[in-house]
């Protein structure tokens, strides 16, 4: 296992409520990533972090924000959840060397009603 824990693993919430997903790593890796996975779309990058307090947008960042106050934790927040954000969310990490592959957590299944 790559030492990645995502929480919660499952969540059901209502439209308009705020939601925060947590990714915790024990590998001390520099880079952390959030992806979403929807049927027919594979995985798409939402946001990523290249260090504490250093984050940037990915392909599908609208409606999401992130924070990284410690090396080991990367939080993904949906400020006001919408039904289009129902998805499976995956966190990934990678080390300092550019050609070290990303390793993924087991995901959070989020349903927004």
């Amino acid at each position: 296992d790559a030492g990645i824990t995502q929480s919660p693993r499952h969540k059901v919430t209502e439209t308009g409520t705020p939601v925060t997903l947590r990714c915790h790593q024990t590998e001390n890796h520099r880079y952390m990533y959030w992806y979403r996975q929807d049927p027919g779309h594979g995985l798409r990058l939402i946001h990523y972090s290249y260090g504490v307090k250093d984050t940037d947008k990915g392909e599908v960042s609208d409606g999401y924000s992130v924070s990284r106050s410690k090396t080991e934790d990367f939080l993904l927040t949906l400020e006001s959840a919408t039904s289009s954000q129902t998805s499976v969310y995956f966190c990934a990490i990678s080390g300092q060397g550019g050609n070290q592959p990303q390793h993924f957590g087991d995901g959070t299944r989020l349903s927004i009603l």
Binding site: I4, Y31, Y33, Y35, G40, H41, G42, L43, R44, L45, Y48, Y50, D56, G58, E59, F90, A92, S94, G98, N99, P101, Q102, H103, F104, G105, D106, G107
Partner: protein, 113 residues
Amino acid sequence: GESVGLHLPTLSVQEGDNSIINCAYSNSASDYFIWYKQESGKGPQFIIDIRSNMDKRQGQRVTVLLNKTVKHLSLQIAATQPGDSAVYFCAETVLQGAQKLVFGQGTRLTINP
């Protein structure tokens, strides 16, 4: 095993046969490619990677081939086993610090006894 056309979402092979999964990538500037395996309810699991300065790389029962001329990647699995049943994704990126992976749609591999 059979080779599959690009973008075909499913592949069914007999146990013990070889499997070939194909992938077309989109960015001619991509210089790092990764194959992942995803089982139901789990995150993508790293299988093998290759850099653009290589045409072929072998692992245990798996081989990745890269054809930069036509922007094509393939994953060959030798002597497929029931445990190989999963969805397989290719991913590409340009190595420049953080890896902003772009994933293919995926191919579902089913092993028949």
